[in-house]
């Protein structure tokens, strides 16, 4: 059990800068999910924590101890790899116990730990098999088992579910979460899948081009995204963005699409005419008489809900998610609810909150 602190972690491969200074404080027993588009530096960050890469600048502390200069084996951590990295010539038991054997633990102690972990994961019957005799889900469990027997201070996961089919992924996701809660081991979990991130993490780190765009709980990220990147990345279908400018002495936004909407939660600081980006989640939009005319160009019926794609009179695209069946085409009136507006400064995309009273 331990805390993890990253401060100012930077990484460059030659001239390519991949991480631009990441700070993160992980509490004891917390599960942090690092989520972001492919290539944003998630794996690099995880590998720096693991000791498989050396940061160009910054430090990594585990349980208060600076481990930046230590070898992976000396950091007391365990990692679950995307392709599991099980040695094909060793049995499941040997795979799980290999790290302990190298550490010089006595044979009975290794056996005991391997059996305990296998029981925990329900793979006792597989201990004598070779990895190639296992299904994807079983290999995944063995990879977890190998991490568990080490009884490490920190678990690291690099997209461990991405090789499983959709159904198994959901099942293993829940299993990993239960296990992590039960063992109480501080964990870092890397994924590009926002659903995985939302369901697994105590807190999320949304990475964007080598920065941590936002570090917060899943609900906070969903309800108060720090910038337009996070707002567009988390949530499905993605948030709508409309252009507008600050108006009425900071009390409202004048949308390019026509209406001026007063802010429900207080005036924003800034001069009138300041270009804004207004975010609206598809599920918050309603079809109501007297709304803006939305020309529907695509309807996606999903059974319990319908997703409508359309265009406002000024040409801006808008997506609406409605419960139950809905009209499939034509022009429909849509209202933009003031209480669900997300306000961002157009330049840079930063969130603009009401000025404190």
């Amino acid at each position: 059990m331990a805390t993890l602190d990253l401060s100012g972690v930077q990484k460059a491969f030659g001239a390519t800068r991949v991480l631009h200074g990441v700070d993160l404080a992980v509490a004891d027993g917390e599960m942090i999910v690092i989520v972001g588009a492919s290539g944003c530096g998630k794996s690099t960050l995880l590998r720096i924590v693991a000791g498989l890469e050396t940061p160009t600048a910054g430090s990594v502390r585990i349980g208060g101890r600076d481990v930046t200069a230590l070898e992976p084996a000396d950091r007391d951590i365990a990692m679950v790899f995307q392709n599991y990295a099980l040695y094909p010539h060793m049995s499941v038991a040997q795979n799980m116990g290999y790290g302990l054997k190298i550490r010089g633990l006595p044979r009975p102690e290794i056996d005991r730990r391997v059996r305990d972990a296998a029981a925990l994961l329900g793979i006792e019957a597989l201990l004598d098999r070779r990895p190639r005799q296992l299904s994807g889900g079983q290999r995944q469990r063995v990879a977890m088992g190998r991490a568990i027997v080490r009884e490490p201070k920190l678990f690291l996961f690099d997209e461990p579910l991405s090789n499983l089919d959709a159904k198994l992924r959901v099942q293993m996701r829940a299993e990993i979460r239960r296990l992590q809660k039960r063992l109480g081991v501080t964990s870092l979990f890397v994924t590009h899948d926002q659903i995985e991130a939302m369901t697994l993490g105590d807190r999320l780190v949304v990475m964007h081009q080598g920065h941590a765009a936002q570090v917060a709980t899943p609900m906070e990220i969903f309800e108060r995204p720090a910038d337009t990147y996070v707002a567009g990345f988390i949530g499905s279908p993605a948030m709508n963005f409309l252009e507008g400018v600050l108006a009425g002495g900071g009390r409202a936004v004048a949308l390019r699409a026509g209406p001026t909407i007063p802010f429900a939660d207080g005036p924003r600081p800034g001069p009138d005419g300041l270009p804004l980006t207004i975010g609206l989640r598809p599920e918050h939009l309603r079809l109501e008489a007297g709304g803006l005319p939305l020309a529907i160009d695509l309807a996606e019926p999903l059974g319990s809900e319908t997703v409508l794609h359309g265009r406002l009179p000024d040409g801006e695209a808008l997506v609406i998610r409605l419960a139950g069946p809905a009209p499939r085409d034509g022009t429909l009136p849509v209202t933009l609810p003031a209480e669900h507006l997300h306000v961002f400064v157009a330049e840079g995309g930063r969130r603009l909150d009401p000025a404190p009273a």
Binding site: A50, P72, D74, I77, N83, Y98, G99, I102
Partner: protein, 295 residues
């Protein structure tokens, strides 16, 4: 027996199998196979039969295709007196020592060099790799005189060391191992690092076991290669102590008139046995190594 023949002969059944259902009649395939078998087998059959007749039969120019009655005495003569004064047993022993040392040595040296080239970053790594690669293009014959000079200056002429050491490094085997090592996923290396396995542990616990089939296949090929060495032993092994069977056989064939062909052929058959034994014993591994990689 050359390596390519061995390979082809063993691989053929597996390759032929999927064509069973094809429109081509079976007998064509069988005829071709039969022709191939005849082509490869007939000379061996003639030698085998020749070794069971007396000197006179062969001396008359007959090519016997059926066994004669002198097998025992011919083989005893070969094993005890041999040709050119060296007993065949002694030469077989010398050849076995040389072939084993070459095969084992080449595998040991090249697997370690390939490990260094693939898994470590060190200055001049690329240079080291290319130097190994380029020596592939130099046949032994090109460097044979400078090599002889070195070996003789070191006083290694007519010793096992002189026979073996100059041909113990193998660019081909190094390259084969390199190619194989490149297919070992980086994740294994990283998992080993997390497990705390250093380079030596990783080599012994992961790389070696994964290379087993490759090593077995190479062992067969290199044993046969070592067994068939001719030019280098001819130069460096001139005394009876270290004479190899291949050289011995050539020496036994003196002038046409006073050659005991029946003894030569018996020696020939004896010389065939060790490589055949190696191929047969290792065949399961050998085919596996050529056709699949265990991953």
């Amino acid at each position: 027996m050359s390596t390519t023949e061995t390979t082809r002969g063993l691989a053929l059944p597996a390759e032929a199998a999927p064509h069973r259902q094809g429109p081509r009649p079976d007998w064509v395939a069988h005829a071709v196979l039969l022709l191939g078998v005849l082509l490869f087998f007939l000379p061996i059959w003639i030698v085998l039969m020749g070794s069971t007749h007396d000197a006179a039969t062969i001396g008359r120019g007959e090519v016997p295709l059926l066994p004669g009655g002198h097998a025992l005495e011919n083989y005893r003569a070969a094993l005890e007196q041999g040709g050119a004064g060296v007993p065949v047993g002694r030469m077989l022993f010398n050849s076995t020592v040389m072939a084993l040392a070459i095969a084992v040595g080449k595998i040991a040296i090249s697997i370690i060099s390939a490990y260094a080239v693939v898994f470590f970053r060190f200055p001049f790594r690329q240079l080291a790799f290319w130097s190994i690669f380029i020596t592939l293009m130099l046949p032994v014959e090109v460097r044979i005189f400078p090599t002889f000079k070195v070996v003789s200056d070191l006083g290694l002429v007519n010793t096992y060391a002189g026979l073996i050491i100059p041909i113990i490094a193998s660019a081909t085997a190094t390259l084969l191992f390199r190619q194989f090592f490149l297919t070992i996923p980086d994740e294994f290396v990283e998992a080993a690092k997390m497990d705390g396995a250093g380079p030596v542990r990783f080599f012994l616990d992961v790389v070696l076991p994964l290379s087993r089939t490759n090593m077995a296949a190479l062992f067969v090929i290199l044993f046969v290669y070592g067994w068939n060495q001719y030019l280098w032993p001819l130069l460096v092994a001139t005394s009876a102590d270290v004479e190899t069977i291949v050289i011995g056989m050539v020496k036994m064939i003196g002038s046409e008139a006073n050659t005991d062909w029946n003894i030569v052929m018996a020696t020939c058959v004896l010389a065939l046995l060790p490589p055949v034994a190696v191929v047969v014993l290792m065949q399961r591994w050998f085919v596996k190594g050529l056709t699949e990689t265990e991953k």
